[in-house]
């Protein structure tokens, strides 16, 4: 089984979000970048397929050279090879087109992306990629088993869980539950050393179109001060929620 894991290189979850250039660009100054958490769950699941079912695991990102440490980390975690498509993408559709061009040459059986990135939050790339390739698609995936060509999976829905079945090839939007937090693989020294020998190929971008562009960023308006209510006067809280906030 040939597996591709799509990784997005995103600001660490503790990052303070600021903008520069008249609020048209994200301020990378002092920001740590990580593998998008949903992608890391997906990568770990892929490594299990590699260890238990002999799958080959490739990782890919569409981004500039600053994304390479994230790909190296994926190799240290256990991926067999990495690709970087050399383009700073403008929107999710552009990413999907780049990935689809790569996939058409490679014929992956299973493509795992994150349900959503924590920076752009588009929830676009995996679904668009599946549609461009004509593969089956399921997102919010929290369990995935594959025997031969047949897939059994479950996905989180609003207020519950749904079990589905389909055949490969498939694109999956991964999330927590696919593996647990404690299962995430922390690269060890050996992994890090091996990662240096593995191939990280930079490929030029293909022609692609964009459908949306960001003209400006903005931060939420500062919040008013908190109103404290004495623990012995809970009636006052109910009164405020009813008469002032009008939410109960």
């Amino acid at each position: 089984m040939k597996i591709l894991v799509c990784v997005s290189h995103v600001p660490d979850t503790t990052s303070k979000i600021n903008f520069v250039d008249d609020d048209t660009a994200f301020d990378k100054n002092g920001v740590q970048f990580i593998i998008n958490p949903n992608d890391e769950f997906g990568l770990t699941r892929a490594i299990w397929f590699q260890q238990k079912q002999g799958a080959e695991v490739t990782v890919i990102t569409v981004g500039d050279p600053s994304c390479e440490p994230t790909l190296r980390k994926c190799l240290a975690i256990g991926a067999d090879r990495a690709f970087r498509i050399d383009l700073s993408p403008t929107d999710g559709f552009q990413v999907a087109q780049q990935l689809s061009a790569h996939c058409k040459d490679e014929n992956y059986d299973l493509i795992i992306a994150g349900r959503e990135s924590i920076d752009y939050n588009g929830a676009m790339v995996p679904g668009m990629l599946s549609a461009l390739l004509g593969y089956s698609f399921l997102t919010n995936c929290m369990a995935l088993e594959i025997e031969g060509r047949s897939v059994k999976a479950s996905r989180e829905i609003d207020g519950g869980i749904e079990s589905v079945s389909c055949d490969l090839p498939l694109v999956v939007g991964a999330q927590k539950g696919l593996v647990e937090e404690k299962d995430l693989i922390i690269p060890n020294m050996r992994g890090i050393m091996q990662a240096r020998q593995k191939s990280l190929t930079v490929v030029p971008a293909v022609d692609s179109s964009i459908q949306s562009s960001i003209s400006k960023f903005e931060k939420p308006a500062p919040k008013g001060a908190v109103k404290m209510v004495d623990a012995n006067q809970i009636d006052q809280l109910i009164d405020l929620l009813h008469n002032e906030a009008k939410v109960i």
Binding site: P11, T13, T14, I17, F19, P37, N38, G92, F93, A96, Y120, N121, A123, M124, V125, P126, G127, M128, S130, A131, L132, S136, F137, T139, N140, E156, I157, G159, G160, I161, E162, S163, V164, S165, D167, K176, G177, E180, E181, Q211, S212, S215, K216, F217, E218, K219, P220, K223, V226, K227, M228, V229, A231, I234, L237, I238, L241, A245, V247, I248
Partner: protein
């Protein structure tokens, strides 16, 4: 030319988001003087939608679409959008809508903006404000395509009544061959889901253990609220994954969010920021969550919450 909304249903009835989308769609359709159309799948009583300004409802009824399947729904939506020359398609931000939208975008060659937080700032070209960086920021996006899709954030547009003469049209479903099958749907019945809830009551590690969750559940049922939790609480298995909210869990965009024994770590706040009113109950006056709260109570959850439940019941009784 028209505007098309995808109305969602739950147990054969329209969800609140359907009325939000209709109100929102109406507000865009009016100044443009175009028709507001809606699509619904497998619903018997379509009349509640008449109150919210829909001109034409396309009703698809087919037992094989009983369970939501994104590609089948997308194919039907795409065909309707093309037949009626829809320039704008509007969906909610539910899990199903987010599953469907990218598929629809590709088949319509449409631009797609998810997590849109209000009316467009301009229509030609379409410019919308959407949240990004998991609610830590917004971006203004321009979508200059023949067809565009908006995914509207839940609770970000008020429902407003605007009764119209609604034409209801039956349409036969188009069904494609596929290996994809929904085998089983397990839903906790009678519970409000976090995505649909107006009020969410959330518990953190401060509750000490799963045996104390009756406090959260009692408060939630008193308020008709959904229950949620912080990440460590679900990691330790005190509560199911589906309740984990925050940057790496579910987003919450409720009208009221009550956090009990949650410290207010940046990753937690990121996911609940877009809730309108936040109440924090914590025994540590220095808990960071108070800085992000609208109302705060410093106190022991084991004393404050039972008292709050008691007082709320009295309040509801008196109303």
């Amino acid at each position: 030319m028209s505007i098309l909304i995808f109305t969602e249903t739950e147990n054969g009835k329209f969800k609140k988001s359907a009325f939000e989308l209709a109100s929102y769609g109406r507000a865009i359709a009016d100044p443009l003087g175009v028709e507001l159309m809606a699509v619904c799948f497998n619903i018997q009583d379509t009349s509640p939608l008449e109150s919210y300004g829909v001109d034409r409802l396309i009703q698809i009824s087919d037992p094989s679409l009983e369970n939501f399947t994104a590609h089948q729904y997308a194919a039907n939506m795409a065909e309707i959008a093309q037949t009626h020359d829809a320039k704008l398609v509007i969906l909610s931000s539910s899990a199903n809508a987010k599953y469907l939208a990218p598929l629809l975008a590709v088949s319509l060659s449409a631009g797609y903006a998810s997590n849109v937080v209000g009316l467009p700032e301009s229509i030609e070209p379409l410019r919308v404000k959407r949240s990004c960086f998991t609610n830590k920021a917004f971006n203004l996006s321009t979508l200059d395509n023949k067809v565009n899709i908006i995914g509207l954030s839940n609770n970000s547009y008020p429902v407003s009544e605007n009764p119209k003469e609604m034409v209801v049209e039956q349409k036969k479903a188009i069904l494609s061959e596929t290996s994809f099958k929904v085998e089983k749907v397990e839903k906790a019945s009678g519970q409000v889901s976090i995505a649909d809830a107006d009020i969410v009551v959330s518990g953190g590690r401060g509750l000490k253990g799963p045996e104390n969750w009756h406090l959260i559940e009692d408060l939630a049922s008193t308020l008709g609220a959904a229950t949620a939790c912080s990440k460590p609480v679900s990691d330790m298995g005190w509560r199911p994954h589906s309740e984990h909210v925050g940057q790496t869990g579910k987003p919450v965009a409720s009208n009221l969010y009550i956090a009990i024994g949650v410290s207010g770590a940046i990753q937690h706040l990121a996911g609940i920021n877009s809730s309108k009113v936040k109440v924090v109950i914590n025994n540590d006056p220095e808990a960071p969550f108070f800085k992000a709260a609208d109302y705060g109570v410093v106190g022991d959850a084991f004393e404050v919450v039972p008292e709050l439940i008691k007082k709320l019941k009295a309040f509801k009784y008196n109303e």
